[in-house]
Symmetry: C2
Subunit: 186 residues, 2 copies
DNA sequence: CAATCATTGTACCGATCGGTACAATGATAA
DNA sequence: TTATCATTGTACCGATCGGTACAATGATTG
């Protein structure tokens, strides 16, 4: 018996493991244990080993945010895009049950491995949000501060809700942030 | 030649290493490499091994916050204590260069090892801040939300400033948070 | 059918992991 | 001085680490 995988199917599985265990905590044996995918397959699709696996996961995450969050913020109706951001972020992070892999990588030495990808992810999030805020009538300086506050607030809400093991904390924090940005736009 | 240590001197050294490398990323050999302390000494002071070392570091961090942040928030003049919190937090985290070990542990599976300590640290921070806010004239419901927002905001600012490798982001975020809490108090 | 080739399971590699055992060291106290 | 005892350096343990080699598998193509 022999199961055949595709690279595109493996990446989301890897993502969940890196999210839960972190980069250092993720070992090849635990990947095999939790997915059934052997080393042969893993090194066939990711010849660069663990580093390439994590890199592929980061690229996948980045692609999702670019499509689902950043592009709407840059191009669509500002009010609608910002409203959609809150609901999409709440769904994506499962109300705080899931964490942000990029944020987690930023905290420890894993950052050194992926500093470019990590920086890009947040820079583009903040820029896209600021763009939407300005189109909604917010002056530039205030829009930059608000955008940073919103993105940082989401990351902090993830930390806090996991620390307290309380998903309501995340949803509540998102709600407070949404109201704050809303208030400045009109 | 033989260097003699005390447990109290070792803990801060361990703290810095756990902060930079995370729990899984911190190995005994790297501790020895960066501190010169051998396994003999480490297991003499921490018979429980790595878990006890990290536990001692968490207790040390908790003690510092209890003394320098929480107690003033609960007992001293509210305005002064909150103002002191911002400057002390900015100093403690070196304007975002240092991260919060408790928050980092909360993000990955390390949380399972120390869930009680992690939960306590944040619960007491939020409670103390809410107490100060209420004494400063903030109604209870709003004080709870603001306290959570403040603590989460600090954690998010740490993530963001490290991700962007920009310490100004941290100082700016702290400033924005301070102004926000200040506005509601009067 | 035969040949090709992407994919997979498994055995194996040296290095490092967390942890233990214990003798050497050196300060303290009788 | 001698005995005691906390402290340390070092050698060692089995397990696991990330990674490699390669033959077996099986779908695809001519």
């Amino acid at each position: 018996m022999k199961t055949v995988y595709e690279r595109a199917d493996i990446v989301p599985l890897l993502a969940e493991i890196f999210r839960e265990l972190g980069y250092e905590g993720t070992s090849l044996s635990r990947i095999t244990e939790r997915t059934g995918i052997g080393k042969g397959s893993l090194y066939h699709f990711f010849p660069g080993g663990k580093q390439e696996m994590a890199g592929a996961v980061l690229a996948d995450v980045d692609g999702w945010f670019e499509h689902a969050i950043y592009q709407p913020l840059r191009k669509d109706d500002a009010d609608q895009a910002i409203a959609a951001m809150w609901t999409n972020v709440n769904d994506y992070f499962c109300s705080g049950r899931r964490i942000c892999l990029v944020g987690a990588f930023a905290l420890d030495e894993t950052r050194e491995r992926f500093s470019a990808e990590i920086g890009d992810y947040f820079i583009r999030w903040i820029d896209a949000l600021r763009s939407a805020l300005m189109r909604a009538g917010c002056p530039e300086g205030e829009a930059q501060t608000l955008a940073e506050e919103g993105v940082a607030g989401i990351q902090g809400a993830l930390v806090l809700s996991r620390a307290l093991d309380d998903r309501m904390v995340f949803t509540r924090a998102l709600d407070t942030l949404a109201k704050r940005l809303d208030a400045v736009m009109r």
